[in-house]
């Protein structure tokens, strides 16, 4: 059942098109992440869903109700902000109850909801404190609590973890995931952090320039990016892009080297010929004995070694183009070593060299 439905929504600020006739359908209970670089329109879209921004065209439905003209408070949403946006002069309890009091919720009902929320988020001991007396993580928990007490169907998160340090961020990430498992509400989560997106999402919508580029499960997006932008945006270390030519066979020619593409599934049937870009993730490149078994392998020279702790990133060249691959941390590779690398073309992505679309 559809929980949030965005239909042909456009938003213009003056002559600038921030959202372009955008469609999005979020089923009940889904955790959807809107991912993209800053300025891609992801926060704008979230604000439109919340009713904090007026759309220029199109409709928004929440729970099958047209809410395009509704005030945020009437949309059945709760929202968590990047800067927490707690009311600084009120206690935690005051923050949780202020909206409910205004909505005319009965006193004992408010108490009940606060008790439940503070139990879920473990903020019971903090109820009498002011936001200034809380740590960043505690503040964000209270901010989530303020959305929770509203007892709504849809939660909107606007980069809620960006203001926290790396350690706290990963802790709260897990907590948000647990929260979703426990409540099973629809959650729409905006972030520019691909790890947050990959770990939290049921589905990710990758956005750029006010348009959704790809909407799919995290693994599908990771493995079969629809275009070069999505391929480059997800994954760290980043995907290798090799310029070359598609030739009959089919094969992909990088200078004198030819990569056989027999195992590659082309989008559509038309096998093309001409310039293209081959993308292959560093962890999909095999090395040493494993490479021998790959459909494509090649002798290369190690140029640079970047140990990263859990594994090591090795830089080399294929033809004249830079290429990186990942090896286990224990492998003793040094600059100048000649090694054999290889990969399975089935795991590669081939893009149109001008438009950047997947071929």
């Amino acid at each position: 059942m559809t929980s949030v439905l965005v239909r042909d929504v456009s938003l213009n600020f003056g002559t600038v098109e921030v959202l372009k006739a955008l469609n999005l359908d979020v089923p009940e209970g889904e955790f959807l992440v809107l991912l993209g670089p800053s300025g891609c329109g992801k926060s704008t879209l979230l604000n439109c869903i919340a009713g904090l921004l007026d759309v220029s065209a199109g409709q928004i439905f929440i729970k099958n109700k047209n809410v395009t003209w509704e005030e945020p408070k009437d949309r059945g949403i709760g929202m968590v902000f990047q800067s927490y946006a707690l009311y600084p002069q009120m206690t935690v309890k005051g923050n949780l109850s202020f909206g409910l009091k205004n909505a005319g919720v009965a006193k004992d009902e408010i108490e009940k909801r606060i008790a439940r929320t503070s139990e879920i988020l473990q903020i019971g001991p903090l109820l009498e404190r002011k936001p200034s007396q809380l740590s960043g993580g505690q503040r964000q928990r209270v901010a989530i609590g303020r959305a929770l007490v509203r007892d709504v169907d849809v939660f909107l998160f606007d980069e809620p973890l960006s203001n926290l340090d790396a350690k706290l961020r990963s802790e709260l990430r897990v907590e948000i995931k647990r929260l979703h498992q426990r409540l099973a509400n629809t959650m729409i989560y905006v972030t520019h952090d691909q790890i947050e997106a990959m770990t939290l999402a049921d589905r990710i919508a990758v956005m750029k320039g006010g348009v959704i580029q790809q909407l799919d499960a995290p693994q599908a997006i990771y493995n079969r990016p629809v275009n070069r932008f999505v391929a480059g945006f997800l994954g760290s270390p980043a995907m290798n892009f090799l310029d070359g030519e598609l030739a009959a066979g089919p094969s992909f020619k990088i200078g004198a080297t030819a990569v056989p593409l027999a195992r590659y599934t082309f989008d559509g049937s038309a096998s093309r010929i001409g310039p293209a870009v081959l993308g292959i993730r560093p962890e999909h490149i095999a090395f040493g004995d494993a490479a021998k078994a790959s459909p494509f392998s090649q002798q290369v020279e190690v140029e640079l070694v970047e140990p990263m702790g859990s594994d090591t990133l090795v830089w080399t060249r294929l033809g004249s183009q830079n290429l990186s691959f990942r090896v286990e941390a224990e492998k003793p590779l040094t600059v100048g070593d000649k090694v054999l690398i290889g990969f399975d073309p089935a795991r590669a992505s081939i893009f149109d060299s001008t438009a950047g679309n997947r071929i």
Binding site: N47, A50, P72, K73, A85, Y87, M90, F98, N102, D158
Partner: protein, 295 residues
């Protein structure tokens, strides 16, 4: 710099010290020295020229026995309290209105602020003319047929200070509005969004969330207006000259009259010391709160 003989501490950073000489002289000679000098001489019976013949608190006794001083203190209190309240309220309201994403915001702001660029003398003279009983507001209303209408604050000893206040507010509220607007703009946009999602009406958001958040702005503004109010002088000179009679006398003018006209320096010093005391009562607690807490 040679390593063998380390230069004496005094010459370290010498250029910075030379550059700071005007500041050091001002701080020590004028601000500390001048203030101390005046306070000390307020306990003497200096007349035409300052002289060190101490008479204890006699000048202060005479000061507080003087009807003219009492009037000026009363005037300052009325003017001070009312213009504080009005300028804060009006300034905040105007700022809140301007903050509603309105059209022509710059035009409105320019209009509300331009009087602040004008001197108190110009302000006082314009309002003296507008409040002129014969040709000004009173004359016009009477001309419309309401013969008994009476509004002549500058010629009525009972309400003259309110006439000055109208002019003072006209000149100064723009500044308050500007400070308040800066304060409002400093409030996190997300707070407004959160309040909207929570369904809190706008006036409640202002009253219970935004204004409490702006407490530092309010306090700073308060101190700025208050320390300006104590200095109130030019406006009175231009608008009423202290009249009718002495009805619109204020402390700063009292000081000037006794120092430079009545040739009774001791009285002037005592009165100015009282002014200093008033400012200290406002500034010291504020400075303590503002800077004491930060440390």
């Amino acid at each position: 710099m040679s390593a063998a003989t380390r230069p004496s501490k005094l010459f370290k950073n010498l250029n910075a010290k030379i550059a700071s000489i005007p500041m050091i002289l001002t701080a020590l000679c004028v601000f500390v020295g001048g203030t101390t000098w005046t306070v000390v001489y307020s306990f003497t019976d200096s007349k035409l020229l300052p002289r060190l013949r101490f008479v204890g608190i006699e000048q202060y006794e005479r000061l507080w026995a003087s009807q003219r001083w009492i009037v000026s203190i009363e005037n300052l209190a009325i003017y001070g309290i009312l213009s504080l309240v009005f300028s804060l309220v009006i300034g905040f309201l105007l700022a809140a209105l301007l903050d509603q994403k309105i059209r022509f915001e710059d035009t409105f702001r320019t209009i509300f602020l331009y009087p602040f660029a004008l001197s108190f003398i110009v302000t006082g003279l314009v309002w003296q003319w507008i409040l002129n009983p014969q040709f000004g507001v009173q004359g016009i209303v009477r001309g419309l047929g309401w013969e008994s209408f009476s509004f002549d604050p500058l010629y009525n000893a009972d309400i003259v200070i309110y006439g000055i206040m109208i002019a003072g507010l006209w000149q100064g509220t723009g500044l308050v509005m500007c400070l308040m607007l800066a304060g409002l703009r400093g409030i996190d946009e997300d707070i407004w969004k959160a309040a909207r999602v929570d369904g809190i009406p706008m006036w409640k958001t202002y009253l219970f969330i935004v204004i409490p958040m702006m407490r530092p702005v309010f306090i700073t503004t308060l101190v700025i207006i208050a320390s300006g109010i104590v200095k109130l002088y030019d406006l009175v000179v231009a608008q009423t000259g202290g009249g009718p009679g002495n009805a619109s006398e204020v402390p700063a003018k009292y000081v000037y009259e006794f120092m430079f006209r009545a040739q009774n320096l001791g009285q002037g010093f005592a009165a100015s010391t009282m002014m200093l005391l008033t400012v200290a009562i406002i500034v010291v607690p504020w400075a303590y709160l503002e800077f004491g807490r930060r440390r």
